[in-house]
């Protein structure tokens, strides 16, 4: 998580860097137990050599039983001697590096020798990690400051390029005078310590790079399908390997390296982590592409039918998401209409509608897609010497990837595609083609009918029981289920008032507002800015959802989380209306990992306000990034109830529905 958020690491670079460079070190228990002792050990020198400011924190006051011995200067030389002897004897910088964190005040005094002889056995991890542990275990800013000072001391006395690890080690070694500390630092810098750790680092990095390259090669081979590009894939992977090596090395040598290198390393890792998942479950949709991976983006671009303009000035945190501006390439696509041989015209039409934004909303998009597939299946005929099941699946996959280019799939669409592919896969081989086609078409019809149309009706029947006379209902944006619910409740004769909360840039609430007012429902329209004001009078909040995830998280139009949280703060029940086919077994904790980016231009321009032109030439401003998110994740804590076609459920029951009905019902 950290490495994908460089801006964060910048805020606290030194300590974080040290912590990050050592991968897989520092078992937490030790780290915690050592923190106080290390702090305590570092305080005695503050009496004779170190800066006095360090011991201001009460944590660093040494335990009373050692306090008489700490100020004494006498044991120090002895210890120093023993130390040097030990250094000479073991000639192992790792030991040197390792020992200070383990030095407790008592052992320092009495049995330094035995302690040193113990150390290597006790701590198999390398010195850097030990030092890093110390550095990162210092509480807060004082720890950082301490490290900084140590760095200055060490660097000033000996070499300008003293590393953080050595500096902190020098700091934490209590008994050594400044000069000697410098010497120790120098020795560490020149000697085997750094080079060895460095070597280990690079080998580790190389190993990882190699592994990644292999994996990505495998993934690429898989992606290119029948192995046509199999030969090209390793070729593509080798440069990546070389580059990896190059990229990873600097952090060990130059200390300002990691910030540049880490994101690329991590992103590379992220990307190639996915394919094994794909192996495990062969369901569609395929693993989400990480768009901060240059190679794969390039490859995808080459394949793409839709020419995608890339947004400029991308927001750092959301680089892994598709960054394209939609809706600008319509004419371009329209000219291609007759050239696209493999694409069925109805699919093409739906794709264009997604692209232009004519069809939006989870249900509408899903139904449009299914109907297009239905048409395509109707017009389908198996090419000679091909198996229907395989060819049709491939066809559908190509349609899906076209639709993804137009706009990323919603979870509802993903589930519908999964259903359809499953139906195709389960077809008996002996079935004649015409029968297959008709059965698939009726399956699609049934899915639309049962999972969407009737489900909505059931949801409305359930939800209307929760509306009492005199209620003030709040809804956000435009959800078709909520709209149907409000209209139905009005028809049934419930007395209620509706507050429609809306937000820029989509202003979908206005559509709902107009429709409800036309029906004669009493409405209030406001923007999300006024949510905390309006929430006082609200008695129930009804929200729609794009998806509900396994941990009860509601994934919905951006702004929903805000509304739900305010409602929760005002103790207003939040009811989510969502059809069960939109449930997904994924777990998501934030809105960053998976989301969709909208056109940034939309939020920079306010229609009808020519005077607000401050962001007009935003592409020229380098440090300006606009973020137009489409979805957000509402934690289940803020949701009182989820109303589905299986009844009214607590958010904790979503996995039950997913578990019980995924197998039997969704695949009918």
């Amino acid at each position: 998580m950290d490495n994908r958020r460089p801006p964060r690491t910048v805020s606290d670079p030194k300590v974080r860097q040290v912590g990050f460079v050592t991968p897989g070190a520092a078992p937490p228990a030790r780290y915690l137990s050592e923190a106080p002792t290390a702090a305590a050990a570092s305080s005695p020198p503050s009496g004779d050599t170190g800066p006095p400011a360090i011991s201001t924190s009460p944590v660093m006051i040494p335990p009373p039983r050692h306090s008489p011995s700490a100020p004494l200067a006498v044991p120090n030389p002895a210890r120093r001697d023993s130390l040097q002897i030990q250094v000479g004897g073991y000639n192992a910088p790792e030991v040197l590096l390792e020992s200070p964190p383990l030095t407790s005040p008592s052992s320092r005094m009495d049995d330094a020798v035995s302690q040193f002889s113990e150390d290597p056995a006790m701590s198999p991890c390398n010195g850097r990690s030990g030092a890093a542990k110390v550095a990162s275990s210092f509480p807060g800013s004082s720890g950082e400051m301490m490290v900084m000072k140590a760095g200055i001391v060490g660097g000033g006395s000996n070499t300008p390029k003293s590393s953080w690890t050595t500096a902190s080690v020098a700091k934490t070694r209590p008994g050594i005078s400044e000069k000697e500390r410098g010497a120790v630092v120098g020795m560490q810098n020149d000697g085997a310590g750094v080079s060895k750790t460095l070597k280990e680092k690079t080998t580790k990095a190389e190993r990882r790079a190699l592994q990644e390259a292999q994996r990505s090669a495998k993934a690429a081979a898989k992606e290119s399908g029948a192995g046509v590009k199999l030969s090209a894939a390793p070729g593509g992977a080798v440069p990546a390997n070389i580059k990896q090596g190059k990229v990873v090395k600097p952090p060990a040598q130059k200390k300002d390296g990691p910030q540049v290198a880490n994101p690329s390393v991590s992103s590379e890792k992220k990307v190639v982590d996915r394919p094994p998942e794909k192996d495990r479950k062969k369901d569609v949709p395929p693993p989400r592409m990480q768009f901060d991976d240059i190679h794969r983006v390039e490859k995808a671009k080459r394949r793409a039918v839709v020419y995608q303009f890339e947004a400029k000035n991308r927001v750092e945190l959301f680089r892994h998401l598709p960054q394209y501006i939609h809706g600008t390439q319509l004419p371009d696509l329209e000219t291609k209409f007759f050239q696209l041989d493999p694409m069925h015209p109805s699919v093409y039409k739906v794709g264009l509608q997604y692209l232009s934004g004519n069809i939006s909303g989870g249900n509408a998009r899903c139904i449009a897609m299914l109907l297009a597939f239905r048409e395509a299946i109707r017009d389908y005929s198996t090419p000679p010497e091909k198996a229907l099941v395989r060819d049709l699946t491939a066809k559908i996959s190509s349609y899906v990837s076209f639709l993804i280019e137009c706009r990323p799939l919603s979870i509802s669409m993903g589930n519908a595609i999964r259903f359809l592919k499953n139906r195709i896969a389960k077809l008996p081989d002996t079935m004649p083609e015409s029968e297959v086609k008709s059965s698939l078409q009726s399956d699609i019809d049934r899915f639309i009918n049962e999972k969407i149309v009737i489900a909505d009706k059931v949801i409305i029947r359930h939800a209307v029981t929760k509306i009492r006379d005199g209620d003030v209902l709040l809804t956000y944006g435009l959800s078709c289920v909520v709209e149907m619910l409000l209209v139905y409740a009005h028809e049934v004769g419930k007395q209620f008032r509706v507050v429609i909360v809306d937000s820029r840039p989509k202003l979908e609430g206005q559509v709902l507002f107009h429709r409800l007012v036309a029906k004669g429902i009493n409405c209030t329209y406001t923007h999300v800015n006024a949510i905390s004001y309006i929430m006082h009078e609200v008695t129930l909040v009804f929200l729609g959802a794009a998806s509900v995830l396994s941990n009860g998280t509601v994934y919905s139009r951006v702004g929903t989380a805000c509304v739900a949280m305010v409602a929760n703060a005002f103790r207003v029940p939040v009811l989510i209306c969502c059809e069960a086919y939109k449930f997904h077994e994924r777990v998501q904790l934030d809105s960053i990992c998976s989301n969709e980016l909208g056109d940034p231009d939309v939020i920079s321009k306010v229609p009808g306000r020519k005077d607000l032109n401050h962001l007009d030439n935003r592409a020229d401003i380098e440090n300006l990034q606009l973020l137009n998110l489409t979805y957000d994740a509402t934690p289940s804590d803020f949701v009182s109830m989820i109303i589905t076609d299986y009844g009214m459920l607590p958010p904790s029951s979503v996995p039950v529905i997913v578990r019980e009905y995924r197998r039997e019902n969704l695949w009918i």
């Binding site: 929760k466 129930l540 459920l649 607590p650 029951s653």
Partner: protein, 394 residues
């Protein structure tokens, strides 16, 4: 209600004097719009039964005894089936579900859900349907009548739903013989009483593990299951202490303390408002439940919510003992989202005119304030309730 008289006792007496007050409502019991077609208008039938079962030596009890002597109740009961028979389409049939239900309801050891299931089993026995479908329709009608007879009782409707569910599940299975299926259903219904007793024993076995030596348990309300748990714990030679809330207006605490004192368990009675005062000494809170709802929360006697809130804020565990047939497919969002079960309160003194009295007899405790539920399905966290309900009903 309170406008007419100050107390439950007076209320009852008044009604006894003026049977005309109650007769119009009892003459049309099948009109589902009527909340409580039973004669004691304004008193939830569920709480009536409870009052009868948990006979408390109090003014209420004396009044009920008086009423029983007068056989006022019985005339009302006999009157009702006749009226329903007259109105209902199947006038030729002398059998009535409600009659049957009331018969079973009178048995002190039988839970209301069990009584409902017994009544429905009796419906099966007496009905002349020749196909499963007919039987189902008949049953559905009967269970709807039962439910509408007392809309406030959760366990009644849950029991009906459960049995209906069982019947539909059975009918889904292809039986070669209708009579075999019918017998099977009847047998199932008869067995349900045993099952309910067994459930109570299972819960006692599970729950008594949570009672440790030297602990202090706060009990709110009178629940047969909780009593069973405590009984078993006491018979296992566990040494513990009970704090009983008084449980106004039913004085459930008096009854419970009497039972526990007979077992030799040290008991202390608290007034209901002393819960927070005593909570420091308490190690755990035990409550029963009228109904367990889908969210995992419980509906129980008034005061459970505040007890749970106090316990939660002091980090004391709240344990609920409830049989699984009390699980209901309800999802209240707040206190007002329930069918109100009214229960007049005897304040002992006349209430000044123009003063309103909250007569609701129960409240809803949200799941976040409950620690565990002891059920015959096992010891569950509140979130599992929905899981079980989904598996049961879907």
């Amino acid at each position: 209600m309170w406008g007419r008289s100050a107390s439950f006792l007076l209320d009852k007496r008044l009604r006894d004097q003026h049977p005309s007050l109650s007769s119009p409502s009892s003459s049309s019991p099948d009109s589902t719009m009527d909340l409580n077609p039973n004669p004691n208008h304004g008193v939830s039938a569920y709480y009536q039964t409870r009052a009868e079962h948990h006979a408390i030596v109090s003014s209420d009890w004396l009044a009920q005894a008086q009423a029983a002597v007068d056989r006022e109740d019985d005339t009302a009961l006999t009157e009702r089936p006749h009226a329903s028979a007259a109105v209902s389409l199947s006038a030729s049939k002398p059998f009535s579900v409600i009659d049957e239900f009331n018969y079973w309801r009178k048995k002190p050891d039988l839970a209301e859900a069990v009584a409902a299931i017994m009544a429905l089993a009796a419906v099966i026995r007496s009905c002349e349907a020749t196909t499963m479908m007919e039987l189902e329709i008949e049953l559905k009608k009967a269970s709807d009548t039962l439910k509408s007879w007392d809309t406030t009782s959760i366990s009644l409707s849950a029991g009906c739903d459960l049995f209906m569910r069982y019947v539909t599940r059975t009918s889904a299975v292809e039986y070669e013989d209708f009579h075999a299926a019918k017998l099977r259903l009847i047998e199932r219904g008869e067995k349900f009483g045993e099952i309910s007793m067994k459930a109570r024993r299972t819960i006692a076995m599970l729950g008594q593990d949570f009672v440790f030596d030297g602990c202090t348990i706060l009990v709110h309300g009178f629940s047969r299951v909780v009593l069973e748990v405590l009984k078993l714990a006491a018979s296992n030679r566990k040494l513990f202490r009970i704090f009983c809330t008084e449980g106004r207006p039913d004085k459930t605490g008096l009854r419970l303390s009497k039972e526990l004192a007979a077992l030799g368990v040290p008991v202390k009675l608290l007034i209901d408002s002393a819960v927070a005062y005593a909570m420091d000494e308490v190690d755990m809170v035990f409550v029963g439940a009228d109904g367990v709802v889908e969210s995992g929360g419980i509906i129980n006697m008034m005061g459970t919510y505040q007890t749970a809130l106090v316990a939660h804020s002091m980090n004391k565990p709240v344990y609920v003992a409830a049989e699984s047939y009390k699980f209901a497919r309800l999802y209240p969002l707040d206190q007002k989202d329930l069918e109100p079960a009214l229960h007049p309160i005897d304040f002992g003194v006349p209430i000044p005119s123009g003063v309103e009295v909250e007569t609701s007899a129960r409240d809803y405790t949200p799941p976040q304030y409950l620690t565990l539920l002891f059920t015959d399905l096992g010891v569950l966290t509140p979130s599992v309730v929905s899981d079980e309900l989904i598996q049961l009903y879907l």
